[in-house]
Symmetry: C2
Subunit: 343 residues, 2 copies
Amino acid sequence: MTNFQNKKCRIAVDAMGGDFAPANNVVGAIDASAADSNIQLLLVGDKNKIKKVIAEKNLQFPEEQIIHADEVIEMSDSPTAALKTKPNSSIVVGAKLVKDGKADGFISAGNTGAMMAASTILIGRLKGVSRPTIGSSFPTQNGDYCSVYDVGASVDSKPSHLFEYALLGSIYAREMHNIPKPTIGIMSVGEEKSKGNELTFATHELLSNSELNYVGNVEGRDVLKGTVNIIVCDGFVGNIILKLAESTIGLLKSRIKKYAEQGLINKLKALVVKGVFKEALSDMDYQSYGGVPLLGVNGISIIGHGSSSELAIKNMVLKAKEMFDKQLLQKFEEALKDYAKSK
Amino acid sequence: MTNFQNKKCRIAVDAMGGDFAPANNVVGAIDASAADSNIQLLLVGDKNKIKKVIAEKNLQFPEEQIIHADEVIEMSDSPTAALKTKPNSSIVVGAKLVKDGKADGFISAGNTGAMMAASTILIGRLKGVSRPTIGSSFPTQNGDYCSVYDVGASVDSKPSHLFEYALLGSIYAREMHNIPKPTIGIMSVGEEKSKGNELTFATHELLSNSELNYVGNVEGRDVLKGTVNIIVCDGFVGNIILKLAESTIGLLKSRIKKYAEQGLINKLKALVVKGVFKEALSDMDYQSYGGVPLLGVNGISIIGHGSSSELAIKNMVLKAKEMFDKQLLQKFEEALKDYAKSK
């Protein structure tokens, strides 16, 4: 077996996508490449703007690793239309680097829909995958993570899609989270087999008859309880779960802030609360996670929050490197081939 | 206009439903009737067991207001089957009291599905309602509430159902939460009109062409942000939202507990956190809400958590009384009639 960990991994980073681009993107990406000498970074975007950030921050970066792209797909652009109307955008140029074998992975904190479309259409799907999926890992009561697929707003998912999410998600959890046989649940409205809708019933049949470690239906509360390692659901449902869970910390912060405004003693108590939160709830700060991979495409593709911090960008690059080292794509391909044979 | 607030309201309470029945149910219900002399309480269930609680707790309650029912629908019973196999159950007997005009409202912390089925089938639907709905009110960042309909696991909701949820929910919010023109959003995966699925697109058409204060799509994060007063969605989605949101406080508590176990200073800090939580997050303790009304049935029907506390039961009875005082049913009927005419 090749020692991939000592192999150079070429990671392209969209320098223009996100609310704090290009500054956060350039600094975070260079930080990551400084942390791992086997990362060969490619910065994709407006060359002058990227060089300006590098100069301002007193960073070192070889000019030949800046890949010029003079258009930007804005957050408000229609994803699929933008792929055609903005062929020189950083997202299209970056995805093409992977397609053409010039990069092993691509990362963007830009327009999520455009990134999904560019990855799916330009990089292409793995054989046996009908719909690539974005998962999100939620911190659980027991200190583990529960990954929900799909959260990418890929609506009207079919049972076969949910099955693919379970298959890809299992391998991802095994390799990236070191869980030998990840448990899988179907998101529903009750634990009993009889509870659910047409999608959950049909998915139950597919998963029951597979080799995956499927345990049955789970409910909304099971995400944070961590009842299972992986939950599959329609992208419509998963996207709502993700955004609701992310907003919890905002509710807490606003309440503590209001509390602190009611006198000096409250202010002091609120300071203690903030300190405890920082230690005890750090994993609820979805910022630091640094993006989620789009699984099922024929290359490493990681999509970040529009508001990605430098740390988030850095973590996205390091995650791409880890996926590369652990040969995720090859393992996906093998599992999909085995499943196709078993049918 | 009749002064309903001075009119006796007959409220039947299922003494047998819930994890802490009959004790919590009997004590909570009698507490409520002691707080409002216009409540005429009927306790439905095993007469001997109810009398035993009354004696043990040194309470006063007229025996003729205990309505004997010698069967109990268990949490594990199949809801619709149980209505037939257990005709003498407290839920069936209680719902029949409303049907027969012997009670104005019925409350249960028992089997939710059975309570929904008994209310819908025995008490019956209001004219113009095709599917009764359970809403849940979530505390928001701005200190208000956002009500989500349906959370009752009434899966595969149709656009017309979501429209009815919006209509009934608007009147409920206007009357019970004093919001003159409640804003309404459709739960989706993006704010843009183009984001969503078939259900959201068709519901958008219905709500756009109505007199309701519809503002457009909302996302998962808008529940706790409080972007709108009312959110409508499929019961499958709403039920997942409810259970996920309810589980947040459990995640917080478990994290603070673990933190407290790491030495004396942590323990002291955790005590401060608990105190602040109690003051600043009290409305996130869904326990105290005391159940949710089933809207659209031809009587007051309130469904509580299986783990309802005495306070929760008390609050459920008081909520039923408030719905009675504010003539919710009559107002629902008028609005449904007006809508039918406008079509």
